[in-house]
Symmetry: C2
Subunit: 136 residues, 2 copies
DNA sequence: TTATATGCAAACAATTTGCATCCTG
DNA sequence: CAGGATGCAAATTGTTTGCATATAA
């Protein structure tokens, strides 16, 4: 059926959706679907992994959650920050560090504009060695 | 067996490896494994997808090929350029544009250093609208 | 000749989907 | 009560692996 003002309804507010969203918001790290599932399960043992994935899609569309590709074979998720930021992964210990460097966004927009590109998203993933692991 | 100077042999030079490498070098776009497989198959019909994947791993380790995550559920591959560059994906038409903007690398190294990070890799993926699709 | 590379098919891991049922609004 | 959301299991997709055979050096 075509969605019209008439029949369009707001999405349902369910225990599972609230739960997944709370798990993501509560975590300082970037969880993958499995971890979100396990944490949600602690509070709602019947929740299924499929629902977690469906909810993640829902939250992404709602603009509440970011999906991250950090070079692994599965994705990670984070609550959308008010301020844009980047991710750094240490090649030695695997730690992921967040950086708030708006300079990248300015630079991206500026350089993009020079080529006629309208930049709406900047996804920067840095790799290298963190202070603990740096060789020098 | 443990690899020593004694028993270490150079990798074999096979038709399949040459073929996969030529396909990648010859393509201006960023092919995925399946596309590489299909193109290689035109010239060597018996080649298998498994060999393509194994060769991609081999070429990555050799530093000849880059693996790209462009937001899809599968990876893309490109020959390593002499100059670093970034990728831009148009959200409207899907076109991928390459940008050569060393500024990002300088900025990344500079900002990283400020936090004690030794940056070895900069993976930047821009999204937005290309000149044809820009709404202005 | 001998370790390495290949092809095939089976195994895997992450994610998606069909369907019957449940539940929110 | 009606349409959306869930749970379960099965299906898909991208990628990897075991093993017998073929091949480069």
């Amino acid at each position: 059926m075509i969605q019209t003002e008439e029949n369009l309804r707001p999405p349902h507010q369910t225990r599972q959706r609230r739960l997944v969203w709370e798990v993501i918001k509560a975590s300082p790290e970037h969880l993958d679907a499995e971890s979100i599932y396990l944490r949600a399960k602690e509070r709602s043992p019947q929740i299924s992994l499929a629902t977690v994935y469906r909810t993640l899609t829902f939250l992404k569309n709602a603009g509440l959650v970011n999906e991250l590709s950090l070079g692994e074979d599965h994705n990670h998720y984070e609550a959308v920050h008010t301020t844009p930021h980047e991710h750094f992964t240490c090649l030695s210990c695997g730690r992921v560090i967040e950086l708030e460097t708006p300079q990248f966004y300015d630079l991206a927009r500026r350089l993009g504009a020079q080529q006629g590109l309208q930049i709406t998203g900047v996804d920067l993933h840095l790799t290298g060695y963190c202070p603990n692991c740096a060789t020098t």
